[in-house]
Amino acid sequence: MSTSVETSPLKAPMLSVDAQRAAMRRRRRLRTGLLLALMTLIAVVMLYPFFFMIVTSFKSENQFLNGTGGFSLSSWSQLAQALPWAHEMLNSTIVCACAIVIILLVSTTAGFAFAKLRFRMSNYILTGIVAAMLIPIQSIVIPLYINAANLHLVNSYFGAVIIYAAIGTPFATFLMTAYYRSLPDEVIEAAIIDGAHYFGVFRRVALPMSVPALVTIAVLQFIQIWDDLLVGLLFLQNPSERTITVGLGALAAGRTTNIPILMAGSLVSAIPAILVFLIFQRFLTTGLTAGVSR
């Protein structure tokens, strides 16, 4: 950034001002060109999977195997048969929506309490909840599975929703606590003096002020739950309840050899999360870096 203006002051008088400026412009343009070329190269690497999915999905199986060119819609016309994507995406949507609602409910109330209604031990409880972020799902998945089986919660939306909600709660609570701490106490004190209850202050004052944080949590969780395989694989085994990612995983594990169909399915499954990403990119960025920025 700064190197392009580093023309040495000693040499300056030897060149006319115009020639000097022209040289500087040329150098800057060359630099920009090089940077753009490098950035384009990286973009090609990052976009390659999308390119591969799109191109392959529009080939027939033979065209793909023989490596010949050609265009075919056969994989798209057979997709619904191999992967009931519409039904499975509906399942994904139901599970995501319910889990996100629970996460938002418990994390906003808890976050407000931890930030503004502190009581004895509240900091220890907060630490405990946030520390639960360190529990890998693989470490608890066996007891969870047996518990859910005993309660007849395997293969029901409810079991999976509760597990996803619990997994998302520690980080969401951490984020909401930090957010509510940044709200000035005076806002809440004023409402209390006006005779509001603490819960009323939360619902009518704090909650409406925290919409950006809510969107951040919802977007992060949507992508996480939509893309998850392990929990869905174990807790939503029936084809009637399974999510799109589980359906896709099952299709791949079934060693379906028709790669164009697999690529069409992958593409369809990825579209909602990509759309959410493109629309809410800004919120996602805030959420991902919430752990470091103070």
Binding site: L35, M53, V106, A132, L134, I162, P170, L248, G249, S269
Partner: protein, 310 residues
């Protein structure tokens, strides 16, 4: 991040009523507070806390999901003498080699983006986009990419290296390399965003002062910029390490199924295989405890390191 904040409400009443008891308002505040954290606390305790306790208990049992016999702590010594266990741990250790790449490449990309060449925001979106797609989809494409006569093969041929036939996934000792490369690729988006945020917090006056003092660009990068980014580099390294240990299940499930042999079986995948492939729930639980201990240690180190420069 817990200490810098404003005083909680009602601190003043407590100071005033130090001796004469707590005011009614403060009692109500504490009661409402306890009620409001209850749902989150119950959810976390019941779904995350209790099962980790169960896992520790069950890890000392011979358990197939239905019948269990108590073994005791010797279950651990038994597990640690199993060469397969160490084969799996070796895979985890090897995956850690990918971490520096998954951190430093995005760091370079973030500096590149920060030059703010016209159109850089579009590139930022492109680099970040893979963050939205699932490991299942990534694994599905990666599987074809590394396959025999796949795109990687063609790239090698194009550079006159076709004789190498890098058929990574069919070789027990090379398949992990393919998983590692895919892993690095997937971390680019997240880590680039972390570093872009970090670079935005840099104090330009420090670098300018150093420039006046006659330092070159490299010296400024090493002695001025990197120390300021320390916190962000740490955070991204930890996140990458945690992902390497706990986020690759779907990728391995789709790409290799843990094979060939135990070539790509990491601890998290080994848990799944033992419990849900072979109904050895006791051993699966034990492996889960081992994974939890490793992650807890990583987490504590992170907490320690991030706190030091506060």
């Amino acid at each position: 991040m817990t200490t810098q904040t404003a005083t909680p409400l009602g601190k003043k009443p407590r100071l005033m009523n130090k001796r004469s008891g707590i005011s009614a308002l403060e009692r109500e505040r504490a009661r409402t507070g306890r009620l409001m954290i209850l749902p989150a606390a119950i959810l976390v305790i019941v779904v995350l806390g209790v099962p980790i306790g169960q896992a520790i208990y069950r890890s000392m049992e011979q358990w197939n999901g239905l019948t269990a016999t108590w073994i005791g702590p010797s279950a651990y010594t038994h597990a640690f003498s199993d060469p397969t266990f160490w084969r799996v741990m070796e895979n985890n250790a090897l995956l850690l080699i990918a971490v520096p790449f998954a951190v430093l490449i995005p760091l370079g990309i973030a500096f590149l983006l920060n030059e703010k060449v016209p159109g850089w925001k579009v590139f930022r979106s492109i680099y970040f986009m893979p963050t939205a797609i699932s490991w299942v989809v990534i694994g599905m494409v990666a599987l074809r990419f590394f396959a025999q006569a796949g795109p990687l093969d063609s790239i090698f041929s194009a550079f006159g290296l076709g004789f190498l036939h890098p058929n990574l996934l069919s070789n027990q000792h090379q398949a992990l390399l393919a998983v590692g490369i895919t892993f690095v690729w997937s971390m680019v988006g997240t880590n680039t965003i972390i570093f872009l945020t970090g670079i935005a917090t840099l104090d330009p006056s420090l670098s300018e002062a150093a420039q006046v003092d006659g330092t070159n660009a490299w010296q400024r990068l090493i002695h001025i910029t990197m120390p300021q980014l320390r916190r962000f580099i740490l955070f991204s390294s930890m996140l990458t390490m945690i992902s390497a240990f706990t986020a690759l299940f779907s990728l391995i499930f789709v790409m290799t199924g843990g094979g060939p042999g135990y070539g790509t079986t990491t601890l998290e995948f080994f848990i799944y295989q033992n419990a849900f492939g072979q109904s050895d729930f006791g051993y699966g639980a034990l492996l889960g405890v081992v994974l939890f201990v490793i992650m807890a240690v990583v987490g504590l180190i992170q907490l320690r390191l991030l706190r030091v420069d506060d």
